[in-house]
């Protein structure tokens, strides 16, 4: 089975590094090829890394609350870069405060994410779905 490549990073001015490290480790353990951009990642860096590594999916984290502002236009930038239909996940504390989850999910789906995960998501909660989505 061919190894799938994931681009991983925490978007915007966000420095929450702990979850990012754990995701990297868990995804590697699960057999993925992980390109971890770390924290404080701009949209541009996400797009470039995905193009360069011919990534199969982008995993965006946002913990600090500005996710809503930070991800606007990311899907469009991917389209512009010619990889508009790449699988894209997001997880973390996506908005400021705690809002009705169904609304948050809808909001980020509209912003171009294929799957949206709430806080306290464990690696085992989404890795099976990710494999399914990537046809593994």
């Amino acid at each position: 089975m061919e190894t799938k490549t994931l681009v991983l990073g925490v978007i915007g001015s966000d420095v929450h590094a702990v979850g990012n490290k754990i995701l990297e480790i868990s995804l590697k353990e699960a057999g993925f090829n992980v390109v971890n951009l770390g924290v404080l990642v701009s949209q541009k860096e996400f797009v470039e890394a995905a193009v360069e590594t011919s990534a199969d999916a982008i995993m965006v984290s946002s913990l600090y609350g500005h996710g809503e502002i930070d991800v606007r236009g990311l899907r469009e930038a991917l389209i512009e870069a010619g990889i508009g239909d790449i699988l894209m996940y997001i997880g973390g504390y996506l908005v400021v405060g705690s809002q009705e989850w169904s609304e948050v999910e809808a909001k980020f789906r509209n912003l171009g994410f294929d799957r949206v995960y709430p806080p306290s998501t464990l690696p085992e909660d989404f890795i099976p779905t990710l494999k399914e989505d990537l046809g593994m």
Binding site: A17, G38, Y64, H66, P119
Partner: protein, 485 residues
Amino acid sequence: MAEQITHDRLDWDELQAERTEVLASWPTGREVDLDEAVEYHRKMPLELNFGKRLLQAKEEGHTLAQPRAGVADLNSHRELLLFLQNEGGADLLPTTIDSYTRQNRYEEAEKGLAESVREGRSLLNGFPAVNHGVANCRSLVEALSVPVQVRHGTPDARLLAEITLAAGFTAYEGGGISYNIPYAKRVPLEKSLRDWQYVDRLVGYYEEQGITINREPFGPLTGTLVSPCISHSVAVIEAVLAAKQGVKNITLGYGQCGNITQDVAALQTLTILAEEYLQAENIDDVEITTVFHQWMGGFPADEAKAFGVISLGGITAALGKATKVIVKTTHEALGIPTKEANAQGIRATKQVLNMLQDQVYPENPNLAEEREIILQETRLILDRTLELGEGDWAKGAVRAFAAGVIDIPFAPSSQNAGRTMPARDNQGAVRFLSWGNLPFTKEIQDFHRAKLAERGQAEKRSPNFQMVIDDIYAIGQGRLIGRPR
């Protein structure tokens, strides 16, 4: 650049060109008039002075409670603080700054602020004080009846300091290491240290005019299993660097690890070490107080369980006689708290602080041993740092980080070696699974090895990275130690 920085006091006159530049970097900088600001401070009621309030508490042996809080819009933020003061009973107030401002992205902050006002909810995770400017901030300070501090996480906090201090804030959190390594990725340490010397020098200038401004290095760093020796080393260095610039009222911080003995030992050694190293630099006119941060890592999502974590933090702060405690909320694992949740965290904390006001954690051999370990480890790190700096703490800090002599676990900064790996021992105290390049003696290395072996034996597994991951999740999952199940 590492060659350029020194720990010597910046010349005030020489600094004026840089100040002009800083103040010009965003329109509200124009509002700063230092002479007028000093006058303003002089007229402020004494009970609003943060540092003075802390000294009073220290003298009385009380622990004060302070929340974190900040929203984008001025009126909402004022209301929030008034609520925490009146309904929460906060002894001290904060103004938490948003993350764009922390990265000096004032334009994005401006957009976030505008959108927040439009939508009637905060889209920013804090209060963009630079964008609000001096006059607006003053209206805030004036509305309150307890002292208020700027809390943030800004590598280059020069403009923020100019504006908020001119606005009558009397306390300012942060430091060249503690607001860089956990809060940035690519900011050179020389730069953040130098930018914070500017801030400290500015505070020193206020002190010269007789205005006490409290400074507080950010103790918890990454908030996740940070061993006392690491955060104490950073705290002492930042204290010395601040004092060199004329700062006279310093609060040193430590983030709860969860083993009460270790936490109390950490609080007790913080002052000992700071005074020791200040003394060595012939500085003896600095007042040191302490701040204990309730658990800074991942929280349980359940609010009742979160109350348990919060209360344990309050109790440890009281028994360890911290001068103040920074309070978490039951919404910690849910998102930025509502003002009600924030006030509840303060009230739960104050209940235990008041109940334990006249009690202290008993002196005992384990506590003494724990203090001894922290003292030894921290001194090893600090002495090697000073050696690397050839007697200069600023140079030493830069070189110590480069050499991994100071190394903060889980820090995002490229300036950080990232080779240490903490894990809890069998009693939940934070030890090192890997100490990377920390300048530990063989004896101390053996101590950590033995402590983790003891836990490994109890859990029938050899100490490894899975322990660390388990420990990171543990408190959120209702335990302290990440035991296998």
